[in-house]
């Protein structure tokens, strides 16, 4: 045998079958795969236990009922990937419903109202990002301040619940998008899925997205690699703010009202979904698809409990708590194995 043929490139590669058999998922996808397995088994268990559970309608309803949470979790994924956190999103959702309801009540055109909502959320996120980066303040504190600020602004707009009676909002809320096979879904669900797709593309196919991962991996390295750390770090909070206001719009379509006490604690649901979806709280690892799956897991648990009828709704919280703990511990084990 000559030297040339002994090198790996000189030999014929393994057959397709051998490659298939020896294939194991890349380690960075393991947590997401674990979440997918949890989701499928939960859904399967529901199907075995309750009649009419494992149907396309229920699955589609998961998307419809949790559209706002999906969008929220997408924004949160950006922030957590950089190693930050955004506690303000729940309040921003409430503020968005209030702004939408009040501006529509005042007779603004729906398009203008939507623009006002999205702009407010994005600017709020941008401001928090600026404070976090340029004053080097912990994201926890800065967004905690943002959370109180946004919630307070809600009360400034109105203390009582404001119903939304705008025709356009009504028709969008009532609209259904036909799907093949006689099923249908809502525009809000499509918006949520669209957000996931766009976010996945941005995170994996743009320099901004890869910089998000780089910052989560090591901010100082990212700086030394000449990446635009400042604008990216500020950007993720702006994105989170935008997603929160978009989620607020979806939520106001879902509730058809604006209320200061909407979405209390929803930021924690979003964080839970992201973490269950396999994103590392220290940043640098995770996929947006995981966050989608995380929301679906939370939704399935709720559906499970409503199907059962005898279980108290607190079981939702208990199950989420247990799952969260489990996932964090599993993540810890995985990252310890591969530093």
């Amino acid at each position: 045998m000559s030297a040339a043929t002994t090198t790996p490139s000189g030999t014929t590669g393994p057959t397709t079958w051998e490659r298939l058999r020896g294939w194991s998922p890349p380690s960075q996808y393991l947590p997401v795969i674990a979440t997918a397995v949890v989701f499928v088994s939960l859904f399967g268990a529901g199907g075995v236990r309750y009649e009419g559970f494992a149907t396309p309608e229920v699955a589609l309803n998961l998307l419809v009922d949790n559209a706002f949470l999906i969008v929220l979790a997408v924004g949160m994924t950006f922030v957590i990937l950089t190693g930050g956190i955004d506690l303000s999103v729940g309040s921003v959702v409430a503020l968005s419903t209030m702004i939408a309801a009040r501006t529509l009540e005042a007779g603004w055109a729906p398009g203008l109202a939507v623009a006002a909502v999205l702009l407010t959320g994005t600017v709020l996120g941008l401001l928090m990002g600026l404070v976090i980066h340029y004053f080097d303040i912990q994201p926890f504190i800065a967004t905690l301040a943002g959370m109180f600020l946004a919630r307070g602004l809600c009360y400034l707009i109105g203390v009582e619940s404001i119903p939304i009676r705008d025709e356009t909002f009504f028709s969008v809320a009532a609209a259904s998008v036909p799907l093949p096979g006689g099923y249908s879904t809502t525009p809000t669900a499509l918006v949520a899925l669209g957000t996931v797709v766009v976010a996945a593309w941005v995170l994996h196919r743009t320099r901004f997205g890869r910089t998000v991962y780089a910052i989560g991996g090591s901010q100082s390295s990212a700086l030394l690699m000449g990446l635009r750390v400042a604008s990216t770090k500020v950007g993720v909070y702006a994105i989170s703010g935008f997603c929160a206001s978009l989620a607020g719009l979806l939520f106001s379509l879902y509730m058809l009202s604006g209320y200061s006490l909407h979405a209390v604690g929803m930021e924690l649901d979003a964080i839970a979904a992201v973490v269950i979806g396999g994103t590392l709280l220290t940043g640098g690892r995770g996929l947006v698809v995981g966050s989608l799956l995380g929301v679906l897991v939370l939704g399935t648990i709720q559906t499970f409990i409503s199907f059962d009828g005898t279980l108290s709704s607190w079981w939702t919280k208990i199950t989420i708590g247990v799952l969260l703990l489990l996932f964090v511990v599993v993540q810890r084990l995985i990252t310890r194995r591969q530093p």
Binding site: P8, P26, S27, Q28, W201, H204, R205, T206, R207, R210, T211, Y213, A214, G216, G217, S218, S220, S221, A222, L224, M225, G226, L227, G284, R285, Q338, P339
Partner: protein
């Protein structure tokens, strides 16, 4: 293509006479790609660099030599735009530059690979190499093109690394090579490698050197900073020596012996050191028949130190010499209980003890000053007095506060005795220079009146004056009966101070001898070890025996 070499003007302002550098075969002698002249930088009035010159030619490996604090890293940071120069010119490629940021320096073709790999372990190899200038398609990153380009660069360096694999799954050595590959992809004309070999084993060093030679032959000027003399002599073509912020000389490596280089690096300090040397030698009155203050037998910990015996007697300074990673710090941490030993016994004054935490060691009158002053020593936001009294207060117990008058008396006594500046006990620790911080830490431990003091790199990164004071202090303490374990990367310092010498290599003690007439080169030989096959035949390091 002559290889003539004029010894450079030593420490003077006159530029060295123009001369040709030894060209790489087949490559004409070229103009220098970087010419730094008359570089001076001062920090808060203290000069860090004084009229230093550095010339780099295309296609050479240039070693930048000097002890800790000689100004190597300051000079590098001046070249990479981290520090602005107070005086002097930097000419890159015939154009005078004044870099205001690392990005500007990088744009001029100067890339740096630091000792700690500054990459993101959660991204792929290709992303780490190309992020920031990745190929694009349809407005997004073209992953396949990126991997192809990374593969091409890796191939050029002769590296077989999968560009699509996640960086964190590769060992540090490979990550370092990827960092170099990133630098190379920027079309770096100057590549600065700052201590690239400190965490590599022999095989990995050989691999790195292969890559360095490839790059050199392709015309890159490489600056190589390393403490390992053998490696410097193996890879470098030319070298520049700094001492105390001044240029000492520029030499062809082929015409310089290791001994000459060491002399250049230590320079005039040698004379004054010899004085102290004699002093130490003459006062070797250590009674080694008595019960040692501390005796360890077979002390070891898996993965950090092989079973080691060591005794330290009253009034004795035991110097520990060895390179970074040789196990010298690990030994200190095990002695003090900062890490828990797997094997071995510790006897203090002949009584067997177990140290499960530093607290136990402090109770037995041991003290340990860590090499990592910033992270494991100084509390920057507290005052000098508070920093000093920490250990004493801890050993008294927090419920027995030290009376204010006593505090003040103790603190002013040590501020004066150790010449701590500013002589203000209320000054915030952050504002003190490294040398003064180190003195405060010493005072912290001296206040606990230890019988055994373990000092790990007490003089690292501090100015010459403070260094001499600390060395003097250690000698005085020993004369008054304290047992001292003195660890330092600077051989000459270890030799100067110790009564007995322990040499560490590859995580075990390889030699122990009385320090009479031991020379730097003796120790260097021990540390460097015998010539050994660099490739496959290298035996795998053995695990510490357990029992």
């Amino acid at each position: 293509m002559s290889q003539t070499q004029t010894p450079a003007a030593v420490g003077s302002g006159t530029p060295a006479p123009a001369r040709e550098v030894a060209p790489v075969a087949g490559r004409p002698a070229a103009a220098p790609v970087v010419e730094m002249q008359g570089i001076s930088i001062a920090f808060g009035g203290v000069p860090a660099l004084d009229d230093v010159a550095l010339r780099l030619y295309p296609g050479e490996v240039h070693a930048l030599m000097g002890e800790n604090g000689a100004g190597k890293s300051t000079l590098i940071k001046a070249l990479t735009g981290v520090y602005a120069v107070d005086a002097g010119t930097i000419v890159v490629d015939g154009r005078e530059e004044s870099f205001t940021s690392p990005a500007a320096s990088q744009a001029a073709g100067i890339s740096t690979v630091y000792q700690e790999v500054n990459l993101c372990t959660n991204l792929t190899v290709a992303e780490n190499m190309l992020l920031g200038r990745e190929p694009r398609r349809f407005g997004g990153i073209h992953t396949r093109a990126m991997n192809r380009r990374a593969r091409a660069t890796l191939d050029r360096l002769g590296l077989d690394i999968d560009p699509a694999s996640v960086l964190g799954r590769h060992p540090i050595a490979v990550q370092q090579l990827v960092a170099i590959a990133r630098a190379v992809d920027v079309e770096a004309r100057v590549l600065i490698l700052d201590e690239p070999t400190s965490s590599l084993d022999a095989d990995e060093v050989a691999r790195l050197f292969t890559v360095m030679r490839t790059l050199r032959d392709q015309g890159t000027a490489i600056v190589f900073v390393s403490h390992f003399l053998d490696q410097v002599f193996e890879i470098s073509d030319r070298l520049t020596v700094l001492r105390n912020g001044r240029l000492v000389g520029e030499r062809m490596v082929a015409e310089t012996s290791q001994l000459e280089l060491v002399k250049l690096m230590l320079g005039r300090e040698l004379a004054t050191l010899e004085e102290l040397d004699r002093e130490v030698a003459e006062t070797d009155l250590v009674d080694r028949t008595a019960t040692p203050v501390l005796q360890v037998l077979g002390l070891g910990r898996k993965g950090s130190l092989q079973a080691t015996d060591l005794s330290v007697y009253e009034g004795e300074v035991v110097g520990v010499a060895g390179l970074l990673g040789s196990g010298r710090t690990e030994l200190a941490r095990l002695l003090f209980g900062a890490d828990t030993a797997d094997t071995g016994e510790i006897e203090v004054h002949g009584t067997s003890r177990r140290f499960r935490s530093p607290r136990h060691a402090i109770d037995r009158r041991l003290a340990f000053s860590s090499e990592n002053r910033r992270a494991e020593g100084v509390i920057e936001d507290l005052s000098v007095a508070d920093n000093m009294l920490l250990a004493m207060q801890a050993s008294r117990g927090w419920l027995r506060p030290i009376p204010a008058a006593q505090r003040q008396a103790l603190v002013s006594k040590y501020v004066e005795a150790l010449d701590i500046r500013p002589a203000n006990p209320d000054a915030t620790m952050r504002n003190l220079s490294g040398g003064n911080q180190q003195k405060v830490l010493l005072a912290r431990w001296l206040l606990t009146e230890p019988e055994l003091l373990v000092l790990d790199e007490p003089t690292r990164g501090i100015d010459v004056g403070a260094k001499a004071q600390i060395q003097q202090l250690v000698a005085d303490l020993a004369r008054r009966g304290m047992a001292v374990v003195f660890i330092s990367a600077e051989l000459e310092e270890v030799l100067r101070l110790s009564d007995r010498l322990v040499v560490m290599r590859e995580r075990r003690k390889i030699d122990e001898r009385l320090n009479d007439d031991v020379s730097v080169s003796d120790v260097l030989e021990l540390i460097a070890g015998q010539e050994r096959p660099t490739d496959q035949e290298r035996p795998t390091p053995q695990e510490a025996p357990r029992g």
